[in-house]
Symmetry: C2
Subunit: 326 residues, 2 copies
DNA sequence: AGACTAATTGTTCACGTGAACAATGCAAGG
DNA sequence: CCTTGCATTGTTCACGTGAACAATTAGTCT
């Protein structure tokens, strides 16, 4: 490989001091115009790029942003990562992605690696903790939590998604349409938002003056298969006339079960999905769904990146919105 | 922020030379066992992690792998990135993702940024070039090209996907089922694989002894909308009894058009999609599709990362496979 | 001219790490 | 007791960059 082009090598090439070159390249005012032009030209010819490692060593910061996600196949995370990556592109930031599989140990390892490269900030969807107050050390990392909130040292901001009112709204909407047997399939985790969503569902029922039918309300560890099988059972029982899903994977599984039946998948059950993967739009007749503010989340995350040095810890929640089929 | 824990700070803390600490931390043999234990313990207590920037400056390499993709929403790229990220996790590599939007300028910028951080290797899906022999400078980067092949300096390996035989096979399969009016919708780009896929389609027709009907063979700039509208027209004409798609977006668009019709989307047209997003599996009756070897691609890419210093440029193609609906 | 500013360029140093070499201590052999 | 050899620890240096300070040049005013 050709020797790396450095400020010093350019200086030697031109027979001047490396500081003059450094100043020219960083737009310092005290450089003669002719000299600067000559240096910039030569630098371009030689293909100079700054050495990020050297800059980092001087304590100038790294322009590295870390992103920790459970995975990147789930369309919600993929779209978030995409939006974030685009923003990083524009702001000349380096985006390092780590997958945690929602596992604390992997998350821990990822944080350590981000410390090695001195990431200027870390955006993370925390893995679910075993206990609420398990504190995670961050050793000086600058952390922005997304979607979930945990006790993580160094957190400067938290952006949550508030889907509770959307769930309530969904129940009320279905009730207004005359449904009395509204089913719900959701997650059973105690620490994450599972219990909150179920509570919102129940609040919705109460506000609509409906009584919960426990037979058509299912919670378990969320997964595609879980959503699919629960929905199949629900359909077989022919009790529920409407179904609300409380999670992305569950919603996908439920939809698969609906589509198995052919014709109009929503012929005899009113369905409210969760999340908004692109393919929901293809389904005949459209689908009612609880839309997650992905783009807004990315936008807000990016905005917060600018203020990473801010003192006050900032928590906010972005509203999910119920979108009805046409 | 707490002062960073460095080898020197540990040394000072223990009142010994920084070299002894360095040696202990990098498992150098010439360190007294007792001393080493003391150092390792103290380092763990203080939360020491190595400074990647300093290591990079010494010329020890960076453990940074760059990944350039058009986007990361497309499920093909998302799954590839996911597999790759997992592998990087295991091998303690840092994965930096850049999105190019299939734009050469953005690609160029991304490569430059990866040069700044001295990426040890770059995996990239090259953006389509305007001309075949436009050479891209890489300035010492170590490049592995994926899916497409371009004239990029510093390329050490190329992994392509060979979907041609799968397309031929699809035609022949349809012909065997008695179809004589087989439609095709594909990309029209001259430099990428668009023309090759069309050629494969035609070869398939010829081998099956069929004549091409130009009315039901469409090529244009590939997109979801293009696939959708072309398919709608095709369906309206009621000429074609089968349809093969030559691209992921097109295939998705075509499927959307099919699903708009309700009932069995494939009632009066035999459909062969392209790619294998998870939701294809949900469609009633299943779907025939040309499966892309994503996992194999990721696996092979990771394997090649080990041999980046290898001298011989290595090109290989992974076969796409035709999967029939049950 | 002499002196004094302002503009421009140069020198040295630190950042964290590990190679290369230097120095210390200790035990065995004479 | 002194030498030799080995195990262990210490010192110095370079990597690329830019801050801080020093030095040089050119230009202006009396």
């Amino acid at each position: 490989m050709a020797n790396r082009v450095t400020i010093k090598s350019i200086a030697k090439d031109l027979g001047i001091s490396h500081m003059t070159v450094s100043r020219a390249l960083s737009d310092h005012p005290n450089v003669n115009k002719a000299t600067r032009d000559m240096i910039l030209t030569r630098a371009r010819e030689l293909g100079y790029v700054k050495n990020a490692a050297a800059k980092a060593m001087r304590g100038d910061g790294t322009k590295i942003v870390g992103l920790l996600l459970p995975n990147i196949i789930n369309e919600f995370y993929a779209r978030f990562a995409n939006a974030l990556a685009l923003a990083c592109e524009q702001n000349s930031l380096h985006l390092i992605i780590h997958l945690t599989n929602d596992d604390i140990d992997q998350e821990h390892a990822a944080l350590e690696r981000l410390r090695e490269v001195q990431a200027m900030a870390v955006l993370m969807v925390p893995a679910p903790r075993r206990t609420r107050d398990e504190i995670t050390q961050s050793f000086g990392l600058n952390i922005i939590q997304l979607v979930r909130e945990c006790s993580i040292e160094g957190t400067t901001a938290t952006i949550l998604i508030d889907d509770l009112s959307a769930i309530e709204e969904a129940v009320q909407h279905l009730a207004q349409q005359g449904h009395t047997q509204i089913g719900y399939i959701g997650a059973n985790n105690k620490l994450s938002s599972g219990e909150l969503r179920l509570a919102a569902f129940r609040t919705g029922l109460a506000k609509a003056g409906l009584i919960e039918n426990p037979e058509i309300v299912q919670t378990a560890t969320p997964s595609f298969e879980m959503g699919r099988s629960c929905t199949s059972l629900l359909l077989a029982s022919q009790t529920a006339t409407a179904l609300i899903c409380g999670g992305v994977e569950i919603s996908n599984g439920a939809l698969a079960a609906l589509m198995d039946r052919g014709e109009d998948p929503q012929a005899d059950i009113a369905f409210v999905g969760y999340g908004d993967p692109s393919y929901y739009a293809w389904i005949k007749g459209g689908i009612s769904t609880i839309k997650l503010p992905v783009d807004q989340l990315a936008q807000e995350a990016i905005r917060l990146l600018q203020y990473t040095e801010s003192q006050a810890v900032n928590t906010q929640a972005l509203k999910a919105t119920l979108t009805l089929r046409p």
